[in-house]
């Protein structure tokens, strides 16, 4: 995957994730191109577009457009599933997610995305595991973190995912 964009029906950007390094100018141009192209599409068209050498997969959920760009050898139908999975994760976290949730909690949307995808690839295929990781990270934020080993041991035991506590320095 090359990039993932979320934008509203008016073309306002709500989230941007770039999986390759690009200059600010290039990013701005791509955002402009994508919003123009996708918003111009008719209601019942297919969800795929060809743009330069990339395949663009887009899907509208309520008032938000999710726009994913993949390389030519990737599976477009699966890309639709990836978008859907992300929406499901957001929905589970926020409870009936809507655009306002993403506007006011954009950093959480990024955190969830970063538990699901990394470097343009899927990192976790289980919804529950992603949700649990996010919840545990959120809990960590609440604690007055002092960096001692004892504290963190207690925290990590609250997950049902079995893991050892990282590598000691």
């Amino acid at each position: 995957m090359r990039f993932l964009l979320l934008f509203s029906r008016q073309g306002k950007l709500r989230l941007q994730k770039w999986f390759t390094s690009m200059s600010d100018r290039e990013k701005k141009k791509i955002i402009r191109d994508m919003t123009t192209m996708v918003l111009a599409r008719q209601a019942r068209s297919c969800n795929f577009l060809q743009w330069k050498d990339l395949k663009i997969i887009y899907k509208r959920y309520a008032s938000l457009y999710f726009c994913l760009a993949v390389e030519s050898q990737e599976n477009e139908l699966l890309a639709l599933e990836i978008i859907h999975r992300y929406v499901e994760l957001l929905d589970k976290y926020f409870g009936n997610v809507c655009e306002l949730d993403i506007i006011f909690n954009f950093e959480k949307a990024y955190f969830i995305l970063d538990e699901f995808l990394m470097g343009g690839e899927i990192q976790e295929t289980s919804k529950q595991i992603v949700n649990r990781s996010i919840e545990a990270s959120d809990m960590l934020q609440e604690v007055r973190f002092t960096g001692t080993h004892a504290n963190t041991n207690a925290l990590s035991k609250t997950q049902s995912v079995t893991c050892t506590c990282g590598v000691s320095t």
Binding site: S21, C46, E107, V167, T169
Partner: protein
């Protein structure tokens, strides 16, 4: 200083702004507050301020002054700070800013942190935006984490490794040991990311690919378990167990099985199983089927499996879901080359997709339709495609028109059909055809000799209807110029001949000249056509008038043409018929169209090729046609004929090639040496004896010479000075044959160094009779403005006693008077 406002508060405030200006003002105010807060090195609120900055960045405002603050947040001990800090790093920093390297140490510490979520943040950031330097520094840490038993970290480390390999491919070897038991993991996250890592390694290195082929059985087993296992709540999507992992495994199998018989065989069964057992009611099942089809087509699968795959695609084509139809068309396009017959079976469905409302589907269907056209279905397919051309959106017309031309060229069942098809395209999509189609069409029309009358008649009728489509008008005016006589004579076999007078034709052409719709190029065509008709029609006076009017046209190109044509009427009327003669048949070139005029060294005039002379046996026709000028006549013979088609270069290349090591400074030893002594000074003195040199140098006082004498063929040069231009030497060659057999198909070619210009006129004949019974003469005119020493390389080809003979020679013994 009051506490900075909270993030949500800021967002709420900004959203109340009613205009862009109001929003900008709020943002500027807040940025100023944030800046001063940063200056005060406020630890407590740094996180909040950076978060606000990130929001403003998303709205499109500059946020670079927050970059260092992100680094400070990353270095903090608070998890909240780290989270926002790393997010800020991913959004605001990238490898283009030097400051990003400062992160490296922080990331290194965090990779070894005691809390896995901190480690996770570090891995994530490195895996998303790590630069090559960072990757090099931290690859060791990533490799360590790849071997941990903590699945949460292991999966992240695997994807981080993928990123490292993408940035620094040389480090790939380093991760090899850690991959040993990756696939024996039970955790799907780790499995998935491991497959991604393996795929990346196999795609980058053939050695790795060979090494990992042994994993095929294990991958097949994992896939089998996924399909056969019962419901697993954790990974279920619409009744299918972990489709993401399935697709990824199929993709890896594709790479491993490509080109390898054993691996392909090992996967045959599982592929068949997936293809037949996968539930297709939802998109997710079709996604897996799609990937399966792609894999089957790419590996060395058995034919039964391939047919199964194509049939799946055929079923996709009939699916109600547009996405699936689109995907089917795309895949069929990929396979149409290799499994042409199988795809042909679905041709009617594909052609139906041309009528689909969706733009993406129409485009794919068009591309696929063109790929499926062959000699058998050309008529039917073309009907559908022309109908599509009529009704499609403008964005398709150019591509469709080109496709139609190509297909028609390859598979036209008859010349008439071909011309009809072209006419149809020109009239329906005439303004969208590509520029090079006009010369291509002209060439096609020229070559269909028996269709000339029919073609010009149809084009004329089309012009009467509509003169707005420039390519059509250009082709039509060219044809009328060439074949106007056929038009007025009313001969047409193919269809009812129309009655049209010369004046009517001239009316149409003049109409083009004055019309606002015509481009300058079109006007040029029209004027030239009118001029050509001066030799085909009887009403020359009218043409003369038109031509003289345009002699003062504002358009420089038109003016120049008109002036030159005027000159043709006045001073060079005797040359007019020859110049405006019918064009010869053009041979189709591989690369260039017939209008390419090659500027070569030593020849400034566009060399005109007379394709019929000399006889084609000794003439490689291909490159000759590169020099065809649309206007040229047939009485000037080429300066240089191109050599045998081993060299596809332009004529200039041939010239240089023939010249080869011909240097102007000193003489290199030429192969067949002429029999005349080469020392110049002595010749000066010898000149006294041969010709009355001192009497009249301006006259023909230059001694003749023997240029070539070998194998019974002798070629003498005699000289004259051309009046009025003293720089031109006129050489007449005399070729004689002292053997007992005739030399037939005799061709003489010559090349001169760059500073000269050469013109070769027609030879008297191309048979050199035996036993000196006659000579073949040919005139060469050499322009030598710099008065350099004349040198020439000649090439002779002829047939003697049934075998073809070819020879090259250098002629260096020109008498000095010939060039001084």
């Amino acid at each position: 200083m009051p506490a900075p406002i909270r993030l949500r508060e800021l967002i709420r405030t900004i959203r109340t702004a009613r205009t862009q200006a109001e929003e900008r003002e709020m943002i500027q105010k807040e940025c100023a507050a944030i800046r001063s807060s940063f200056r005060e090195e406020d630890n407590t609120y740094r996180c909040r301020n950076v978060a606000k900055l990130l929001y403003m960045h998303m709205l499109g405002y500059p946020a670079h002054f927050g970059q260092l603050e992100c680094l400070k947040l990353i270095a903090s001990q608070k998890f909240t700070d780290k989270r926002i800090g790393y997010l800020g790093a991913m959004l605001l920093l990238d490898e283009r800013q030097d400051v990003h390297l400062l992160m490296t140490n922080c990331i290194k510490n965090d990779l070894n942190h005691s809390t896995q979520y901190v480690q996770g943040l570090a891995l994530c950031t490195l895996g998303c935006m790590g630069s090559s330097e960072m990757c090099r520094d931290l690859a060791g840490e990533v490799e360590k984490l790849l071997k941990t038993s903590n699945s949460y970290l292991r999966k992240k480390a695997a994807l981080c490794a993928v990123h490292v390999i993408r940035k620094v491919p040389e480090l790939m070897e380093m991760f090899l040991p850690a991959t040993k038991n990756l696939l024996s993991e039970k955790n799907h996250g780790v499995l998935h990311t491991s497959v991604v890592l393996l795929t990346e390694m196999c795609e980058r290195s053939p050695d790795m690919l060979a090494h990992f082929r042994k994993l095929v059985p294990q991958l097949v087993r994992i896939l089998k378990n996924l399909i056969m296992s019962g419901y697993s709540p954790e990974h279920d999507v619409s009744g299918i167990s972990d489709p993401f992992l399935q697709v990824r495994i199929l993709r890896l199998l594709r790479i491993l099985g490509k080109g390898d018989d054993d691996s392909s065989e090992a996967m045959n069964d599982i592929l068949a199983q997936v293809a037949t057992n996968t539930e297709t009611s939802k998109n997710v099942g079709n996604a897996i089927l799609y990937e399966t089809v792609l894999t089957i087509m790419d590996i060395k699968s058995e034919s039964g499996l391939r047919v199964l795959a194509i049939n799946i695609l055929g079923r996709f084509l009939l699916n109600n879901d547009k996405n699936i139809r689109y995907v089917a068309l795309t895949s069929l396009l990929k396979t149409v080359q290799t499994d042409h017959n199988a795809v042909q079976r679905h041709r009617s469905t594909i052609v139906d997709c041309l009528k689909d409302l969706d733009v993406s589907i129409k485009r794919r269907a068009m591309e696929l339709s063109f790929a499926l056209v062959n000699g058998n279905n050309i008529r039917g397919m073309m009907k559908e495609l022309l109908y599509f051309l009529d009704s499609c959106d403008p964005e398709f017309k150019a591509d469709c028109a080109s496709g139609v031309f190509l297909a028609a060229e390859k598979y036209a069942p008859s010349k008439r059909w071909h011309i009809d098809t072209i006419m149809r395209v020109l009239t329906t999509a005439g303004s969208y055809v590509r520029d090079d189609s006009v010369p291509n069409l002209i060439q096609l029309i020229t070559n269909s000799v028996e269709m000339h009358a029919y073609t010009v008649q149809r084009l004329y009728k089309a012009l009467l209807d509509d003169i707005s489509q420039q390519p059509l008008v250009q082709v039509a005016s060219w044809c009328i110029g060439e074949y106007g006589d056929l038009l007025v004579s009313g001969q047409c076999e193919e269809e009812e001949p129309i009655q049209v007078t010369e004046d009517e034709v001239l009316d149409v052409l003049e109409g083009l000249l004055v019309s606002n719709l015509s481009t300058p190029v079109t006007r040029g065509y029209a004027l030239t056509a009118i001029m050509k008709l001066s030799t085909r029609f009887t009403s020359v006076n009218r043409i003369k008038k038109v031509v003289s009017i345009y002699g003062s046209s504002i358009d420089v190109e038109l003016q120049q043409r008109a002036v030159e044509y005027n000159a043709l009427f006045k001073k060079y009327d005797h040359m007019r018929p020859a110049l405006l003669e019918r064009m010869p048949i053009m041979e189709k070139t591989a690369s260039n169209g017939p209008t390419e005029i090659v500027q070569t060294n030593g020849e400034t005039e566009p060399s005109v090729v007379e394709a019929k002379h000399p006889p084609p046996v000794t003439q490689p026709t291909n490159q000759a046609n590169d020099l065809l000028d649309l206007l040229g006549g047939n009485d000037v013979v080429p300066v240089i004929q191109n050599t045998v088609s081993t060299k596809p270069a332009s004529a200039g290349g041939e010239l240089l090639d023939l010249l080869g090591d011909l240097s102007l400074s000193g003489g290199t030893s030429p192969a067949p040496a002429p029999s005349v002594p080469t020392s110049q000074p002595s010749f000066f003195l010898d000149g006294l004896t041969s010709q009355p040199l001192f009497n009249d140098i301006a006259a023909a006082g230059i001694p003749p010479m023997t240029a070539y004498n070998k194998n019974g063929l002798k070629i003498d040069f005699t000289f004259e000075r051309a009046n009025p231009n003293p720089n031109i030497a006129v050489i007449t060659i005399h070729a004689s044959n002292s053997t007992e057999a005739d030399m037939t198909d005799f061709v003489f070619q010559a090349a001169v160094p760059k500073t000269f210009q050469l013109q070769l006129l027609s030879p008297s004949s191309n048979v050199v009779p035996a036993l000196n019974q006659g000579t073949v003469t040919q005139v060469i005119r050499v322009l030598n403005p710099q008065k350099q020493q004349l040198r020439m390389r000649i090439k002779l080809t002829y047939t003697h006693k049934g075998s073809a003979v070819q020879d090259l020679a250098e002629v260096n013994n020109f008498p000095p008077q010939s060039w001084q």
